[in-house]
Structures are given as C-alpha cells and as structure tokens.
Amino acid sequence: MFLYVARTVVAQREMLCEADRHVGDGDHGISMANGFEAVAKELETHEYNDVYLVFSTVGRTMMKVMGGASGIIFGLLFYAGARNMAAKAEIDETDVAAIFEKALVEIETKGGAKPGDKTLVDGLAPVVQAMRDSVVGRLAFPAMLRAACDAAGQGLQASKQYVAKVGKAKTLGERAIGYPDAGCVSLSVIMRAMSDWANTFCI
C-alpha cells in the first residue's frame, strides 16, 4: 500500500509546492516528494513481515530525509503509533485507527497545535474521528479509509478560513485566509491514495 501512496505523492509534487506557495516557502511539495521517494526506495529493497515495522520505517525514513519541523511532524504520522508495538503480520481496522489516533495526540503535543491553528491537525483530527466512527460502525477497511479520506477533505476546506497560529505561516496573519494549510493538502493526497488502494485491492 505504501508504495502506491509514495508514487502518488511524488507525482503530486508540483501541486503540493503550489499549495505551499501562498502560506509557506513553496518547498513543501519538494520535501514531501523527497520523503516519499526515499520511502519507496526503502520499501522496494526490503522484505517486511511486520505491518508496524512498515509504518515505523515509513515514518523514520521521512524524518531522516525531509528535515525541519515538518519532517518530524509528518514522520510522526506513521511512526508515533507504530513504534514499540509488538510485531504483527496483519492488522485490523481497530489497529489502524489506533495508529492514527496516537499520531494525532503526539503531533498535537510536540507540535503545539490544536484544531483551528491552520496546521496538519485540521485535517488529521477529522480523519481520526472518522476512523473512530468507522470502528464503532464496524465498517470494513476500504470503507473506513474512504470515510477518513472524505474527512481529510473536509478538514482541508475548513483550514482555509483559519489564521495560522503555528509554523512558518504564523507571520502572515490574515493574509493566510482563503488558502488551505499545505500539510492538510498533503494529508488529503495521502489519505486518498490509501483509500484508492484499499478500495481497489482489498475487496
């Protein structure tokens, strides 16, 4: 699945840079593409029997390659919920939801951001809620990811109206309104890729 995600992100590199141009340095897309290129290379050259190890490897690789605060934040998305977990060859919907939930908590704590601050959290919080609801509603993996993907999209739209409280865009004040947070855009791309893969291959 991650190889599919990786290729999608790399292909969207320009779009991600464009998203970042108004509220950041314009290099977010390059950073994300570099991160996922390294992820793809890492995954293609190793065998894995442990799903948690795949997640944590994706996270650690992104941290190593991307740099800056966002390298850690995006790396934590996959690493926070997977580190120190006992090896499992297969994980279920509850496990996946738990990974993203742990990620949200850690990103909020370490990044110092809450919903409404115009950060990745604006997309991630709805994703986690959607996953929680899916587990309660006993949705299967493909349906859960589709719900999470929709939630990420809604979070993205909502982030347009916020003034940034954290990160580089924080100096822009009102000028950031109308533009989504670049991290939310990336998250949407990632969630859509995960959802597409699951809905194609996991039926």
């Binding site: 941290m63 190593k64 740099g67 800056g68 605060a69 850690i72 370490k110 990044g111 100096t171």
Partner: protein, 336 residues
Amino acid sequence: MTKKAINDAKNVVQEAVDGFLGTYGEYFHQLAAVTAIAKNHMDPDKVGLVIGGGSGHEPIFLEYIGRGYADAVALGQIFAAPSPDIILAATKAADRGRGVLYVYGNYAGDNLNFEMAAELADLEGMRTETVRVMDDVAAAPPERMNDRRGIAGDFYVIKIAGAVCDAGLDLKEVKRVTVKARDNVRSMGVAFSPGTIPGASKAAFELPEDEIEIGMGLHGEPGVRRGKMQPANDLVDQMLELILPDKPIVEGDEVCVLVNGFGATTRLELWIVMRRALSLLAEKGIKVYHSLAGNFATCQEMAGFSITLFRLDEELKEYFDWPAWCPAYTNQQNRE
C-alpha cells in the same frame, strides 16, 4: 541575486565542511554518511557536548568545536534543522558513557529533531540532557520565556557548557550550570538588510531600503519595532533599554558583553556600537568583566548587529575563564 562564492547550491554545506576540515583536519573529522563533525581526540570519562542547528550562521555551529567546546556538531542544511540521524551520529561520537548534553537554539525544527534524536539515543542506552538557548528578548515577553529564540547568546551558553564538560562534572551538574548560564543571557538585534539563501533568487525576508527592524531574528523573524535608520548611539540606547530590565540587570551586576555582527556589518561599526554600549553600562554602574566584538552568529550577508549581555556570578565566571579553544574563539592568548 547576491554574488556568492559557491558552486552548486545543493552542495554548500558539504563543501564548506570539506574546506573547514582541510584546515582543521588535525583536530576534527566528519562522521560517516552525515553532515556532522567530531573531535579526533576526546578525553575519556567526560560528559559529551553536542551542539547543532541550521547552517548559514557561521561561525556558529560549525566552528564551536574544540577544547572546552563541543565534542561534536550536527549540521543541518541552510537555515534547516539537522535530522535526528545526524544528531544521533554526533551523540554516539560524543558519548563516553557519562551522558551527552545537547545545546541548541530554541526553534521548532531544532526542538523536534533534537527531541527525536534524544528518544533514539535513549533506545540505544545513551543518556542525554538538553539546554535550549532562549536569549532573544524581542521574541516574546518574560512570561513566555520558552517562546524566545536563541541568537548570539549561544556564544556564552556553549562556552559554559564546554567548560563544565571539560572540567569533568557529571551530567546533572553539567546541566545545572548550563541552565544557569542560559537563564542569565539576554540579547537583542537590529536588522538593516536581509541575508539570502545561497542559490536563492530572493532574500530570505523583506526589509525596505530605508528601514530597519529592532528585534528581528536571525532568519528574519518579526521584531518589535520597524522604523527609519538612526544613529548608532540611539539604536544602542533603545536596545539596552529593552535588554536591561528583562532579567533585570542592575547597578552592581557584573556582565560580559558581546557585540555580534550579522554578517555584512563592518568591524568599524561594531566598535562604534561597543563604544556606546560600554559607556551606557558604565553610566548605570554595571561592571563589564569581558567584552568582545565580531561575527559570532550570522545570517549570511544580513546587515545589522546584536548586543548580548551575560550576567555573571562567581561560578559562571570560573567557567567563562576556563581555558578553551575553537576555530571561532579562544581565550588562550598571551597578550604581552
């Protein structure tokens, strides 16, 4: 685009390290596969000191390595924090079993990457402690000290950290004294014109031709007061007026003074600034134990300067005087 003596912009950090090690290779080497350097010889049985941050601010952090200074330095790309793997490699090189102290500037990127490195180091059985430099008085009010950026105050905090490690103190004591140093440093800068990232076509930040900004940070972060250019004496007076009450530093106190150039400002100007700083401090009955002018924490070709005051007590004075050498500074000079 500013003319810079570079080759491919992508390689600036590695090429600078190559040139630096070509000169100081007798004392330092690069660690395998990462942009980090370490001392060739490390005395056994001491706490290790690892510093680091974004490149582009030379001499900091690259050149603050040596006897009574850092044991290893983790170098990020220009204005970017080093990744956890770079910091971890530096940690391994510096660790001699008594733990490692991290000293770096308080910035989101550095904080997150060093924290992750500390976690990874812990997994490998290495103890670490952290002291973040937060000397920029302009960045946040005293109630939000933890939001303050680290600027030229790094100079004093790293000197003290290097000294206590060299003196053989244990990790807890090393941290205690370094924290005390950190808590007694206050700085403020004024920016005249921006620096640029090598290879970039526009400046790292904006500042109109005829304007200056008091309190602007080392990457162009917003300051407290933007206005027209003024005589040096007026700038120094305003800056000290903001720095002194912050700790506060008062009559009878003893301080070290650092007038730091941001890169493009000439030594002629730094001495003119120093003149006013020293006379104002004398007027206020504040004793100056040591003073220094030069480029110690820069932002490429940014023009402007910062003033740093380091308030001493007997313990801090002892460690400030501790004999040390690094390419950026040494107190080992026979003057006569």
